[in-house]
């Protein structure tokens, strides 16, 4: 069932690999070895699953969005409710797994990058639970637009370091976290928040997030006696999408759709859509689609959703795009905002702006689906954190 990617060198087809300073290789080798042993260790798996159940609150609900379905008048729409997880998004699945690895490796200090603050929050949460020192790098612009999460992270005892370079968003926060890691490589564990970065991270994060797809497979069998016809997920770095898709990759009957952020529009420079508008390149340790100019300078991305505001994408998505197993589309800030409002009113569930991109795609493409089809949308997170942005957009 689960596919054999990546290969031993951390490649998904030609994508992935390890483009990092020599100093980091040692830590990546150490992490790979630790993970290989943890993967086979039933005690580790049992502990991980125990925390997913009692701390995260899994399995997450599988919800029939009845009024949204009626409103669209098309396919049957289900939400895989990752917003119901502890801390309000899928991010915690991965941080629980990685903190157990950090413990196993006897590291003392945790660092992480964050965009929307959800990964920062999920990291600070597990650090509090397991008693680790925790430092979160966050672009200054995101510190402002995701204020509520910043306060929560601090309350949990973690330090938030605002990053002032570049676009002051996720891209720069990730570079700064990597610089910290190179400097404190012996005692520090870097909890990467998405299926990005050098090998083995894209593999580890996929494995920890694959619980989303596994539960979806089981539950759809129970509800409608079959696998879903279509899965839709937003992609920034791409971890909720990979987590959702992985269990269905080998079943060609299931259509897989990833939705990127088109920002102010794909015909402008203000977007965050590397798979639609980029070319293969290297950023933050792996070879993957990326938006850059003719000299290789990475372009500043834009999305109203801080979690999607990133110029790159996880390497496995690049492979899935080229092999055409997953179709990638994009929606604009405006379409996402409209979906945000619509779904809040129809279903009584406020979606994250990231999730709103997946919802907006289904609204946009409703005519392409048949009435008897089952669509499952990965409802990656809740929108409480986005209230400041929503109020701002009202003005």
């Amino acid at each position: 069932m689960a596919n054999k990617r990546p290969d031993k060198k951390g490649r998904f087809g030609e994508y992935g690999g390890r483009y990092v300073p020599e100093t980091v290789i040692y830590a990546l080798d150490e992490l790979t070895a630790c993970y290989q042993s943890a993967r086979k260790d039933t005690k580790f798996q049992k502990e991980f699953n125990g925390f997913l159940k009692d701390f995260v609150g899994r399995p997450s609900p599988f919800y029939f969005a009845e009024r949204f379905t009626k409103h669209l008048g098309g396919p049957q729409i289900y939400f895989k409710r990752e917003d119901c997880n502890h801390t309000g998004a899928h991010k915690i699945n991965n941080t629980v797994g990685q903190i157990l690895l950090a413990k196993r490796m006897n590291k003392k200090r945790i660092i992480a990058e964050t965009g929307a603050g959800q990964h920062g929050l999920a990291t600070a949460t597990v650090c509090a639970r397991f008693g680790f020192k925790c430092i979160i790098y966050m672009g200054e612009e995101d510190v402002v637009r995701q204020r509520a999460n910043v306060e929560k992270i601090r309350l949990l005892g973690a330090e938030v370091v605002p990053v002032l370079s570049g676009s002051k968003t996720l891209e720069d926060a990730t570079s700064e976290a990597l610089r910290d890691w190179v400097t404190n490589i012996k005692n520090t564990f870097y909890i990467i928040g998405s299926v990005v970065g050098p090998h083995p991270y894209p593999m580890i994060v996929k494995d920890f997030q694959s619980v989303i797809g596994k539960e979806t497979k089981k539950e759809s069998q129970k509800r409608f006696g079959n696998a879903p016809d279509v899965l839709v997920a937003a992609v920034g770095g791409g971890s909720n999408a990979i987590g959702m898709f992985d269990a269905f990759i080998d079943n060609p009957k299931v259509k897989l759709i990833g939705v990127e952020a088109a920002g102010l529009g794909l015909n402008t420079k203000m977007h965050a859509a590397p798979l639609t508008k980029g070319k293969p390149g290297v950023l933050h340790g792996s070879y993957s689609y990326l938006v850059y100019d003719e000299d290789g300078q990475v372009m500043l991305p834009h999305s109203i959703s801080a979690g999607l505001d990133y110029p790159g994408i996880g390497p496995e998505h690049s492979f899935l795009k080229d092999s055409k197993r997953v179709k990638y589309h994009s929606v604009t800030d405006k379409q996402a905002l409209n979906a945000f409002r619509l779904v809040s009113k129809l279903e009584g569930i406020i979606p994250a702006l990231e999730t709103s991109h997946a919802l907006a795609y289904v609204i946009k493409a409703k005519k392409e689906f048949r009435k008897n089809q089952h669509i499952v949308i990965c409802f990656s997170g809740r929108g409480d954190k986005d209230m400041d942005i929503i109020l701002q957009s009202d003005k």
Partner: protein
Amino acid sequence: MQNRITTYLNSLGNKKLLIPFFTAGFPSLKYTYEYIKAAESAGADFVEIGIPFSDPLADGPEIQFSSKTALDKNLKLKDIWKLVEKVRKHSDIPLLFMNYVNPLIAVGEEKFITKTAEVGIDGLIIPDLPVEESATMQLIADKVGLSMTFLVSPTSTEKRIQMIDKATTGFVYAVTVAGVTGANKKFSNSTDDYLHTLRKELNHKFVAGFGVSSSKDAKRLTKYSDGVVIGSKLIQIIREAKTEKSSVLKIEKFLKDIRKTLS
């Protein structure tokens, strides 16, 4: 392979290498040209030219700042190639590019490396390219006679040090302490031990870089290594100089002082 670097290294004897680093286009290409000239007259052996990149993850604040300044002025790769051609009109000093992987991919590996050799560069240092990802670039570089310098770090295992030594065509670059580039790092006994180990394990000549800021540092680090690279400290000197013009004299004086300790 024979080029300016390997020829120079073959006749080096016991002389220690002084290798200054300048970010291309900081504060402007005109001054990068002046710094290279000043470095040569101060007795530098090679010069490293940094290609600014938008996401320099191996670099500390100084080189980040210089890169951003250059890019904000819309510095283009073709202008850097032109700068090298201008230097080559009057100088035979071995020159290296220090650049991240992505600009190389953007231009195309073959085209980038070929053009870089054509304009007169002798070697490449790519801080985010570990030896196991380098096969394609190595082949092209060999073909056009460009040396590849790989980095070793205090965290490199014995096996990796051997891999790096084998892949290197020119000299090895030893990162002094785990971390990013930056002036004023603290060197300890373990730095000395590490360089001593490298001396025993490497067949190639090797230089120490990252954090080298004074004659004292240079002296200490060359006890076991074959030379030093100085980068962030030079950018600091340029930033602190009252005028761009005076920065050239300050750079020359600083490098002369280091040269004295090293020869």
